[in-house]
Amino acid sequence: MFVLIVGGGKVGSYLTRALLAQGHEVVMVEQQERKARMLEQLIEQRVTVIGDGCDPLVLDEAGVARADVVVADTGDDEDNLVVCLIAKKKSKARCIARVNNPANKMIFESLDRENPVTVISSTEIILDVLSKSITASAST
């Protein structure tokens, strides 16, 4: 599987390493050269494209057209949204996006009804866990 990861922060870097270890092909797009080189030194492999992952030309260079999965995991919802918008235009890839504000989920999901973007909101996951533990403690 070819996975394109946009955003080379902690999530993006760990994801890249894990997917490579599983034998997948990975390209990571990161704007800051320092972050990209740090990962490459660690894994002793060239896997990054340096540039703005919200720029269609950069995504072309990274091979978006043949991606099976595009992961938008920058720290900003608006940037992740644009990555998904471009990926939907240029490929048939499954899109996975990180979202900070759970209220923004619906916007991501509205981009493509047939092949919806998978939205991961850590805020929502934590809220979910909290509400379950509250229910559990209330019932005991």
Binding site: L81, V82, L85, N101, A103
Partner: protein
Amino acid sequence: MRYLIVGCGRVGSTLAKLLDADGHQVIVVDENPGAFKRLGQKFKGHVVVGTGIDYDVLKRSGAATADGFIAVTNGDNRNVMAALIAQRMFDIKKIVARIYDPTRGLMYRDLGIETVCPTTVGAKLIRDMLMEAPWDTLQSFDFGKVTSLTATVRASESGKRVSELERPGRIRIAAVRTGKTVRVAADDTILSEGDEINAIVAPDAISEFAQMFQTASPARMSA
């Protein structure tokens, strides 16, 4: 009308003042409270501190009852996201977003959001100044791929047929105005000095078009 403007920079604040002066109800949203200084003392509209890509902030700003929504923060990505929230969560009918990147601007057109690209508009204005353009740029399509221009027929073109001035696939004369009469141009329409023509011009034919209406013009050369 009720307008919601996201981003109180130079464009946002200027637009807010224009709409306010025209009697509209204007609400401006910006993350930085200091930005509202640009609105000046006379501004009668409302301001809301917050980010324009947050449902709750937009709701508090009256997005549910807005007639128009304008996204002019300094981030292209934020503008398209704010515009999508306005369109899909608040069902605002008229939405305009500023997008500096022409490639992305074109892409967003399919989303039903109108985009303004200052990059294309600015570059074309400068090009027209450089060429001392003998035309008025009316409108451009597809971010400058095709432009609609008007120019005045000089003595040197007087008596020529429309087809003589056209270049297949590159310059097409659409309409001719003689005095107060406008007609759709035909191949054999004869042009007279002083007629105003409206042409659709491809980007690679702009300078050719400029020469046609400029170099042979005695009036312009003496000026």
